[in-house]
């Protein structure tokens, strides 16, 4: 695979070294949270506590943390099915996220969505989405609503819409970018490029494999950034969001990282070459950031281990919370079909008669 780590067009980090040790440690802590949570989720899947599809952010921890460090509370986030890390770092309780994976009533959406559908309106995380590209038009619509209701400015709201590299090949992406470009909507389309869509490398799926250039047909500018560096990701995202806020200039931000494991927990990824796997492991962002902070003196071994232990405990607590939480009852099956109560809504379970003579007569 071509080395895309330092490609033409890659953005230099704006203020490397300008961050306090505390800030950097905070990023590290969040990265460890995502890492440990995902490893535990994988374990819980193997123990059949979690079902369905389960896609992990392993290898994307720096991207998750950097992007969300740039996003303000007033901004909106739309993401994909690979959403646990975003849910956690955006501020959802690990217990509630784990409970969602366990399908419990205490899950972030009551166990109705599962792994792919984390959502929290208060945190303005408007969903993980399982249909590839499905989130892009609604995210564009959120930007439309912001534009509809408020003026541009440095304090304006904006939308961040995440997608995978392979998702840029679906029509919804292109239609959305055209609309955003035409109407000047406050949105940043983030392409989380982990170099693979399931088993397909970017170069075999995109006629323009420099994905940050894919907005050019819509006059939407793009930049590419090292997705293994949370600070670089953050700074690039801040710059992009600022343009969205102040100038209503939509843009693309492409983050380059590696998927450390299979597409989902059940994919053994046999199609990946030894070299590819080695390259991915060599670029694991979590130990890299740890070493960087150690070297810079922002972190010492003892503190790092302490962070790790504390996170482990948080994740264990999350599992315990999820385990102890109640299952939803079949009697609640019809509780969330329509927001507005409506006459004659079907509440029949399989095998119930649709209409009885009595109900027709009465």
């Amino acid at each position: 695979m071509a080395d895309t780590r330092r490609p033409a067009g890659a953005r230099r980090t704006a203020k490397q070294g300008g961050d306090s040790a505390e800030t950097l440690r905070g990023y590290y802590e969040q990265m460890v949270l995502v890492r440990e949570f995902e490893l535990r989720a994988s374990e819980m899947y193997a123990r059949a506590k979690i079902g369905g599809y389960c896609h992990l952010n392993l290898g994307e921890e720096a991207t998750v943390v950097g992007l969300l460090a740039a996003l303000r509370d007033t901004d909106y986030l739309f993401t994909t099915y690979r959403d646990h890390g975003y849910a956690l770092v955006r501020g959802m309780e690990p217990g509630a996220v784990m409970a969602e994976l366990f399908g419990k009533t205490t899950g972030v959406v009551g166990g109705r969505g599962g792994s792919m559908h984390m959502f929290d309106a208060d945190l303005r995380m408007l969903g993980g989405y399982g249909i590839v590209g499905g989130q892009i038009p609604p995210a564009t619509g959120a930007a439309f609503a912001i534009d509809y209701r408020s003026k541009a400015g440095k304090n304006a709201e904006a939308v961040m819409c995440l997608m995978g590299d392979a998702t840029t090949n679906i029509g919804a992406f292109h239609e959305s970018l055209n609309l955003a470009g035409l109407w000047k909507l406050p949105i940043v389309y983030v392409i989380v490029n982990n170099r693979l869509g399931m088993g397909t490398p970017v170069e075999l799926a995109s006629a323009e494999p420099d994905l940050y250039k894919r907005g050019s047909a819509y006059r939407i500018p793009g930049v590419r950034v090292d997705g293994d560096d949370p600070v670089a990701v953050r700074d690039a995202a801040i710059a992009a969001l600022d343009k969205a806020r102040a100038d209503r200039q939509p843009s693309i931000l492409e983050t380059m990282s590696f998927r450390l494991k299979g597409h989902s927990v059940v994919d053994p990824a046999r199609y990946r070459s030894k070299e590819d796997n080695e390259e991915a492991q060599a670029n694991d962002p979590v130990p890299a950031f740890r070493n960087r902070l150690l070297k810079a003196g922002a972190l010492d071994e003892k503190t790092a281990d302490g962070i790790h232990d504390a996170i482990e405990k948080r994740v264990t607590d999350a599992v315990d919370f999820a385990d102890a939480s109640p299952d939803p009852s079949p009697s609640e099956l019809f509780d969330a079909v329509y927001a507005t109560p409506v006459a004659n809504e079907s509440r029949a379970y399989p095998g119930d008669p649709v209409t009885t003579v009595e109900s027709v007569a009465s």
């Binding site: 369905g52 166990g111 559908h117 399989p350």
Partner: protein, 330 residues
């Protein structure tokens, strides 16, 4: 006869048709290097090369349309859409284009296309990934929709679909891939548009298709132990619909229950039940009942998913109620 899984029967059939006719090619996401999301195309890229087994980007509308265009020129594409849910992205190409061309262009162009895709819930994949939308396609003249319930039919219907000159939606089911059955050796070509009697019986007819037939057969076996004789009709084809076979069955049994994976309202069962009412009303001893999915976006949590999906217990209950309603006595 060889015992095969449904998956293997499909895989063997694709191999046989690729070998037989060089105009046949496979196209879809992750069908080559990845060997298919559900491994239906395992080994075929290696055997036939990238010209015959075409990996595509995630562009359902685009590659389905490409398949349609190539079919207009006489190729015989077999499209894999990873799951039926994602066919919604290609639905304009399927419904407004593939299904319309032959009729709209006055019979002057054929579209010999197959779209293979699995439907079905029950795997905790939540609302967008668990749908049974086959009836959307079954509603459309110009399309053929087949839904085999067992490995032998999977083979014979897929062969027929590939050799057919019309667009065929070939419905698979996630819950069926690992099921096993005897498959006749050698070339087998089913006649599309014909139902089958999957089990003979005299007391009540259960009409079903795809995964539902497996459950219906289990229930029939169970009830046979009590001396209740259930006939199971496997529709096999949702469009065209073989009305004669299930109506003849009802003439014999005088009672019918439809067991379907899709939603009850406007579903397959609505069509079956209306047909029975119109055609063989005088033979009926009880109203035709339908056992279908609860009408909710399918939840992820297992207890809710189980409550929403039609199962053997619900079918058994409705069979008993239908027998009771008709004064049935052993």
């Amino acid at each position: 006869m060889t015992e095969l899984t449904y998956r293997q029967a499909l895989n063997d059939t694709l191999r046989a048709e690729l070998t037989r006719d060089e105009n046949v090619y496979l196209i879809g996401e992750e069908i080559g290097v990845f060997e298919g999301s559900y491994k239906i195309t395992a080994g075929l890229l290696k055997e036939f090369g990238p010209k015959r087994v075409v990996d595509t980007p995630i562009s359902e509308e685009g590659f389905t349309g490409v398949a349609i265009g190539s079919a207009m020129l006489g190729l015989r594409p077999v499209v894999e859409i990873m799951t039926l849910n994602f066919s919604l992205i290609a639905i304009d190409q399927i419904v407004n284009h593939a299904a319309k061309m032959y009729g709209m262009f006055g019979g002057r162009v054929k579209v010999p296309l197959v779209i293979r895709t699995p439907g079905g819930g029950g795997q905790q994949l939540a609302a967008t990934h668990s749908q049974n939308l086959e009836v959307w396609y079954a509603h459309i003249p110009g399309l053929k929709v087949v839904a085999p319930s067992n490995p032998a039919d999977a083979k014979a219907l897929l062969t027929a679909a590939i050799r057919d000159d019309d667009p065929v939606l070939f419905l698979e089911n996630l819950g069926l891939y690992n099921t096993k059955g005897d498959v006749p050796d050698g070339e087998q070509v089913a006649e599309i548009g014909r139902a089958a009697i999957a089990r003979e019986g005299t007391d009540l007819t259960v009409v079903s298709y795809s995964r539902g037939v497996v459950t219906a057969l289990e229930v029939a076996e169970q009830l046979a132990g009590e001396g209740i004789s259930i006939e199971v009709v496997d529709l096999r084809s949702l469009r065209p619909l073989d009305r004669v076979t299930f109506c003849e069955s009802v003439k014999k049994t005088s009672r019918a229950v439809v067991f379907e994976d899709d939603m009850l309202s406007y579903g397959v069962g609505a069509e079956i039940s209306a047909t029975i009412g119109e055609a063989v009303f005088d033979w009926l001893d009880a109203p035709v009942r339908r056992v279908a999915a609860a009408e909710v976006p399918l939840p992820y949590a297992k207890p809710l998913e189980l409550a929403a999906m039609p199962d053997a217990a619900a079918l058994t209950k409705v069979i008993r109620e239908t027998l009771a309603a008709s004064g049935y006595r052993k």
